[in-house]
């Protein structure tokens, strides 16, 4: 399910761009910062690009969690109590109740085009970059957790305790909410997210990252030639993460 009716779509597009505008308006500091430090000055973040990910569940190996460990390592996540630890990416096991067919796959922030977390955030801390990456501005987040209530994918985590040894490129803060950034610090250097790199290093190649707006990119070619789906496609969020084989 990838298409909405036309009216619905245009309405959502309007609302979406309004939300982006709001995000831009309230989070200029962060955007400027990221632009300045991580991107060549002549290349602005623009909506010509839509970063996305394609996950092939057939290639995702049972029992492997290289992507999860890589993410924890990259952003120094983890702690000691799973109920309150941040998890930006997790492995989910599925079993069809009727047929018994089972599969496994990573689940992360789906970087929706119309993200509910951005809609509900009272301060605009939760925002969507023009290139499709959904982020939280840690300076504006008041820690109300409304975005966590709104996220259909349970992709967000609240920081429940003091943090130590933070990575300079991945700022986090006690009392605020965070989620997968698509490794925006890497993306802005034209690198792939840590999870994708780890999956490739294991030889599974289950994740493809790239620009969904560029017809020549690997991800676009794959999406065009094989069927894929969105999780909870019924919500019409136009996710940036797509799956094959579910």
């Amino acid at each position: 399910m990838t298409e909405n009716s036309n009216t619905d779509k245009s309405r959502r597009q309007f609302l979406g761009s309004a939300a982006v505008a709001a995000g831009m308006a309230v989070a200029p500091g962060v955007i400027l910062h990221q632009t300045a430090s991580a991107k060549p000055a002549d290349e602005a973040i623009s909506s010509k690009v839509r970063w996305g990910m394609l996950i092939d569940t057939a290639k995702c190996a049972n029992g492997c969690d290289a992507c999860v460990s890589a993410c924890d390592e990259e952003h120094n996540l983890g702690g000691g109590r799973s109920e309150t630890d941040a998890q930006w990416i997790r492995k989910v096991e599925l079993r069809d109740k009727q047929t018994g067919h089972s599969l496994t796959m990573p689940l992360l922030c789906q970087h929706c085009e119309f993200p509910p977390c951005v809609d509900v955030c009272p301060t605009g801390a939760s925002f969507r970059r023009e290139d499709g990456i959904v982020l939280v501005d840690k300076h504006i987040c008041i820690g109300c957790r409304y975005c966590m209530m709104a996220c259909p994918y349970k992709a967000r985590s609240f920081i429940h305790e003091d943090l130590h040894d933070q990575k300079p490129y991945s700022p986090r803060g006690k009392g605020t909410v965070e989620s997968c950034t698509f490794c925006v610090h890497r993306v802005d250097r034209d690198e792939t997210p840590a999870c994708v790199e780890a999956c490739d290093a294991e030889g599974h190649n289950a994740m493809i990252f790239g620009d969904m707006n560029n017809p020549d990119s690997e991800i676009s070619r794959q999406l065009a030639s094989y069927s894929s789906s969105q999780i909870r496609g019924d919500l019409g969020l136009n996710t940036g993460v797509r799956y094959r084989g579910i």
Partner: protein, 415 residues
């Protein structure tokens, strides 16, 4: 025969007054201490997790906020619907509304991950967020009710009280709708995906607000030894009965519509049958203790005329209401999100399982602290301003009350 109503501040010199003040003050301090403890250590020390992100503080906060708009009802009935019997009760109604709202908001704010950023919340708005709208609805409510109170209390402004009352009434409906919509807009969650959520919150507010009003009224008159006639008590308790029944009706409709939609069956099963603590809270506390029992007590001749039983009924309504909000907020989160219909799901992040939550002491103390903030506002309010009529004997509140014996009997017979 029209009686002039006199209002006066309470005395506030008795040991009882200071004892009450001290008790409430202590509860507030404990609540603030709990908030600091949570803030300092992070929410790690609470029962809240990444699965149950809103916990007991939110149950208290939502209950108080919902009750706040309901407490204003009594004033609305007098000003908007022109029922003179309620007129002497209007001032207290406004005070209670503001107090409950402040108490609820205090809990909400003190539970934020970064309460120090309140100023951010006040200056940066995302107008698509119902939360941001609510910030305006809440502050607006306080201002409007305060002005309305002034219209009521200042003789020169009395003539505007009807307009003030109407504005406050419309605003309060919007406010509760806004509060209900916080949940109604969460389309992804099985428990909340219902437009019925907003009107149900409005009805709930009627019931909770009136229950609190009744208790405060009876306590205030008892402790100050001011006369309080049966006429007004019976009126209010009959009204409470109607509200309890209306909430019950909405609850039934809500669950019936959910049962009609196959995709919501598992959530219904969870609440109504095998949700453990949530199922028990629903049947035992919300339905039995919080709805059916008070209905019975209020209408049975043996108990319906006793103030003690009326007070107990009101308290039961409050307890049942807390349970109802607990089920909505916490039960709604404990129930797993349905990401893959028809699939069994498991993960390291508690997908596909009912999440565990137990209220922690700091959360409860924070909630009680917020309630105490509401209480101190009422207590100091009636101490310094003229909120309470000196007497609420029947002749002031019963429009049919006549001084001559025969007429009184006649009105008794027709009543």
């Amino acid at each position: 025969m029209k009686q002039q109503i006199h209002y006066r501040e309470i005395d506030g010199r008795s040991p009882g007054f200071f004892a009450l003040l001290g008790l409430i003050g202590a509860l507030i301090l404990v609540g603030l201490g709990a908030a600091y403890y949570m803030e300092h250590n992070g929410h790690y020390v609470t029962g809240m997790t990444n699965q149950i992100v809103w916990g007991t503080p939110h149950v208290f906060a939502v209950f108080l906020i919902v009750a706040a708009s309901g407490a204003l009802n009594v004033a609305s009935i007098s000003s908007v619907f022109g029922k003179t019997a309620y007129k002497p009760l209007a001032r207290l109604s406004g005070l209670l509304a503001i107090a409950l709202l402040v108490g609820g908001l205090a809990v909400l704010v003190l539970d934020l991950g970064r309460p120090d950023r309140l100023i951010v919340a006040m200056t940066k708005y995302n107008f698509k967020s119902i939360f941001a709208w609510n910030i305006f609805l809440y502050t607006g409510f306080m201002v409007i009710v305060a002005v309305y109170m002034w219209f009521l209390m200042e003789r020169k402004m009395n003539r505007f009280s009807k307009v003030g009352g109407l504005t406050a009434f419309i605003w309060r409906i919007m406010l509760t709708t806004g509060t209900g919509s916080i949940f109604g807009f969460l389309v992804a969650r099985q428990a909340y995906d219902a437009a019925l959520m907003a009107p149900m919150f409005v009805i709930m507010s009627f019931s909770y607000g009136l229950a609190i009003y009744l208790l405060v009224l009876m306590a205030a008159y008892k402790w100050t030894n001011r006369p309080l006639g049966d006429a007004i008590i019976f009126r209010l308790k009959n009204l409470l009965g109607v509200f309890i029944a209306s909430v019950l009706y909405f609850v039934v409709v809500y669950h019936l519509t959910n049962l009609y939609m196959t995709e919501h069956h598992s959530y219904e099963r969870f609440v109504l049958m095998d949700g453990g603590v949530y199922t028990q809270l629903f049947w035992v506390v919300q339905i039995l203790l919080g709805s059916l029992l008070p209905l019975l007590l209020l209408y049975l001749p043996a108990t319906g005329k006793s103030r003690t039983w009326i007070g107990i009924s009101a308290a039961l309504v409050i307890i049942g209401g807390m349970a109802q909000i607990y089920i909505i907020i916490i039960g709604g989160q404990a129930f797993p999100l349905v990401l893959f219909p028809g699939m069994e799901v498991s993960s390291s992040f508690y997908d596909g399982v009912v999440s565990h939550y137990a209220p922690s002491l700091p959360e409860i103390l924070l909630g009680i602290g917020g309630t105490a903030i509401a209480a101190i506002i009422v207590l100091l309010g009636v101490r310094v301003l003229r909120f309470l009529p000196v007497s609420l004997e029947d002749k002031y509140t019963d429009p049919h009350h006549e001084t001559t014996g025969t007429a009184a009997q006649a009105s008794e017979a027709t009543a």
